[in-house]
């Protein structure tokens, strides 16, 4: 791939310094810059009110950007009405038209495009087969289960062959098992059809399993835009570390700093090793983030010379595949350690004293929140 084509690819969807305010006093979206290549599956993840849905609605054309430009395929679409954008959209509550049958629902986007009857029927049949709902064309949406409605909504958003599909928490109303199954199907469709998807969710599990890249939103700003593994293993700030997955946080001060290696003194006086992420100088306050499954208590598993700290077991919860121990570390009793439930795993008893440690690259010294 030459750099010229990759640059063109990179600019399929572009948010350029986009700002959005509803009341003229506060910004819901603050200076959003985002570039998506064609064919990418990008998820906007964030707590409610973080601006992710507003971004999606601006892209769909239901909200106008207060400032900045949104470009689709290099063309500014700020002034293009929704029906001329040619973007497929799946809504949170499916928004299947209740007075039309499934077939009529799918036919709708084709009819408004003036497509002939034979072409329409072929496309409808193809779209329904795609979501394994071929036999349901004559049913009404109300006669379908939530999962089936979800599939129809997906088929309707895809049947007019849009290049870009937006999904606004499409799986929010489904139960856990169905949701996981649908995640897999949506992902498979994305890969098969080569469409570009912008997916909005507040479910981090969904974001991590489906996406090529995830944009974590908070307070109208993208906190981190990265592939799922980076997001989980290398969070760039405390918000992302807290928001994605379970996380232990240890507040402290930078004692020594050399390159990306940091030595942090905890409030109780103990020293731990960490990787410096967004700390810049000695004496700075920091929040060290460590994933529970990266905490070790067996000395042979720890790197030589690593600092360890005292811990006391508060309780151990049996969760089937893992054992989840809550420890008292550095004065707080919310430090979590996860151990695989293997045959030879050490069973910890409540009140047991031990020493815990970790690889320095798993402990990330971030900005204090």
């Amino acid at each position: 791939m030459t750099s010229a084509t990759s640059a063109a690819d990179a600019a399929f969807v572009e948010f350029d310094r986009v700002q959005k305010s509803y009341d003229g006093q506060t910004l819901v979206v603050k200076d959003l810059n985002l570039t998506m290549p064609k064919g990418e599956f990008l998820t906007m993840l964030g707590p409610s009110g973080s601006g992710k849905t507003t971004c999606l609605m601006m892209l769909a054309g239901f909200e106008t950007a207060t400032n900045g430009e949104i470009r689709l395929n290099g063309r500014n679409i700020n002034q293009v009405p929704p029906h001329k954008r040619g973007i497929g959209m799946v809504f949170q509550n499916y928004a299947l038209f209740p007075h039309m049958t499934v077939g009529e629902n799918l036919s709708f986007p084709l009819e408004v495009r003036g497509m002939g009857k034979a072409d329409r029927e072929a496309k409808i049949a193809r779209a329904l087969d795609m979501v394994q709902m071929g036999k349901f064309a004559n049913r009404r949406p109300a006669q379908l289960s939530g999962g089936q409605q979800q599939r129809i909504a997906l088929a309707r958003a895809l049947c007019f062959d849009p290049e870009l599909v937006l999904m606004d928490e499409p799986l929010g109303a489904l139960d856990k098992q169905l949701r996981e199954h649908m995640q897999f199907e949506i992902k498979a469709l994305h890969e098969r059809l080569g469409i570009t998807v912008v997916y909005v969710t507040h479910d981090q599990g969904e974001a991590l399993t489906m996406s090529d890249r995830v944009a974590v939103f908070n307070d109208g700003v993208i906190q981190q835009l990265a592939p799922p593994a980076d997001l989980y293993e290398r969070p760039e700030n405390s918000f992302v570390a807290q928001f994605i997955g379970e996380n232990n946080k240890l507040p402290g001060t930078i004692e020594e700093l050399s390159g990306d290696k940091a030595l942090v003194r905890l409030s109780t006086g103990e020293l731990i090793d960490a990787t410096a992420v967004n700390v810049t100088q000695k004496g700075q306050k920091t929040l060290v983030s460590i994933r529970p499954e990266r905490v070790e208590f067996k000395p042979e598993m720890m790197p030589p010379g690593a600092h360890t700290i005292e811990a006391e077991v508060v309780d151990v919860i049996y969760m089937g595949d893992i054992l989840r121990a809550r420890l008292k570390v550095a004065g707080a009793d919310d430090f979590v350690m996860k151990m695989r439930n293997t045959l030879g795993q050490t069973r910890l008893a409540n009140g047991q004293k031990l020493k815990v440690g970790w690889h320095p690259q798993d402990a990330r010294a971030l900005d204090p929140m």
């Binding site: 029906h83 497929g88 986007p109 007019f160």
Partner: protein, 416 residues
């Protein structure tokens, strides 16, 4: 290991399950019934009984039959079509003499007058002289007034000899006794009831349509505005409910009369001439304007309650699928508001068909509705005709309701 149970299911201690269930629920049912008893009694006494009584009155009038027992006996003995014999005249004279004594000739004449106009004085005159009449009575009566020999008078008396009659419905349907006594359609000029009946339905339809046109955007606004603004708008919609109907109607008189506000503004703006002030009150226009205003909330509220349940995502979905805003409205939004449109229209239409006070106040001569005619006959103590007219209205409304149920389905009705 399933046990095969034959016969009805039994409870653990051997009672039939159905009986046990009935006992268990009896208390709850009794409570529920007791809760509705006051309303049930109220509705029975104030609604079902009066309507039943009204329907009875439309078929019953004993003004003549009770005053003319002898003639009634003769009609019983001689079937319809028999020659009117001297015997019949003798019975009539005897009855007339008795009426004079009981002071009832006016009442009897009134009953006959409903189908043969001009008979009250006929009865009063003959009754006064009946005592002194000598046989042959036929000649005596005809000497008094030639009309006593008219076949249509005798046909009317035969019908009135029984207290039960369909005469009032014949009159209400603009039927008139011809000279031979049979009913036939009155001339076009005399067809006031049916004309007014259909005009009432036509005007109600017009009012319903105008209400729908005005209410739809307001209801949509109510359903989509943020809460704080929509409750303010809702107060404006409900405000007319809190004002006396009379005040609202008379304020229309102030606005619409020829020297009124609207005309003065139009003249001031130079849109109309001072000599050409518009007649907008005490006519059909007045009725339509004032009734539309009075009935508008009954259209807005059901529409609003339906529109409130339509999530904005439907229209958004339609737009994202490529529909223009007009197509999205027509094909996605409008069909979903149909239950509200149907409910509001039915409500407004049925209310309009039976409306009385507004047309009475602002309708003038050509803005009167059917109810005003009912009231007119009630004021003239012609209860039976008023009841027959009211029954016609009732049946028409029930037919409409039935049609509505067949076409749209009453279960799709949503009033709030």
């Amino acid at each position: 290991m399933t046990e095969v149970v034959s016969g009805p299911l039994l409870t653990a201690d051997g009672r039939p399950l159905k009986a046990a269930l009935a006992t268990a629920q009896a208390r709850a049912r009794r409570r529920a019934f007791l809760l509705v008893v006051p309303l049930l009694a109220f509705v029975l006494i104030t609604f079902v009984v009066p309507i039943g009584y009204m329907l009875k009155r439309s078929f019953e009038h004993d003004g003549f039959s009770s005053a003319a027992p002898n003639l009634a006996a003769w009609f019983d003995a001689n079937p319809d079509g028999s020659e009117i014999t001297e015997e019949a005249y003798a019975a009539l004279v005897a009855d007339l003499a008795q009426m004079q004594k009981d002071k009832t000739p006016g009442q009897a004449g009134t009953r006959i007058n409903y189908t043969v106009p001009g008979t009250i004085s006929l009865f009063k005159g003959a009754a006064r002289k009946a005592k002194d009449m000598q046989p042959p009575f036929k000649e005596a009566l005809l000497a008094e007034d030639k009309e006593w020999g008219e076949p249509k008078l005798w046909a009317a008396m035969r019908d009135a000899a029984s207290p039960y009659t369909t005469d009032f419905y014949q009159v209400a349907a603009d039927q008139k006794r011809a000279d031979d006594g049979a009913f036939q359609r009155g001339s076009d000029k005399e067809r006031i009831y049916l004309y007014l009946f259909f005009k009432t339905f036509y005007l109600s339809g017009v009012i319903t349509f105008i209400c729908l046109l005005l209410a739809f955007p307001v209801a949509h606004l109510l359903a989509t505005l943020p809460m704080s603004k929509s409750s303010l708008l809702m107060i404006l919609v409900l405000l007319p409910f809190w004002t006396s109907l009379l005040v609202r109607t008379t304020s229309w008189i102030v606005l619409l009369q020829q020297q009124g506000v609207v005309n003065s503004i139009l003249v001031a703006m130079g849109l109309i001439d001072d000599s050409g002030r518009l007649v907008m009150i005490n006519n059909m226009t007045g009725t339509i304007v004032a009734m539309t205003h009075v009935l508008l909330p009954f259209m807005i509220l059901p529409l609003f309650s339906v529109m409130r349940t339509i999530p904005p995502s439907y229209v958004r979905a339609a737009r994202s699928l490529g529909a223009t805003s007009w197509t999205a409205f027509r094909r996605v939004y409008l069909p979903q508001t149909l239950p509200g449109i149907a409910a509001g229209s039915l409500l407004v239409f049925i209310l309009a068909v039976g409306y009385y006070i507004t047309p009475a106040l602002v309708g003038g001569a050509d803005g009167q509705l059917f109810s005003n005619m009912i009231q007119f006959h009630m004021a003239k103590a012609n209860w039976s005709l008023a009841a027959a007219l009211a029954a016609m209205l009732l049946v028409a409304v029930i037919v409409l309701y039935w049609l509505y149920d067949r076409l749209i389905g009453i279960d799709r009705l949503k009033l709030g």
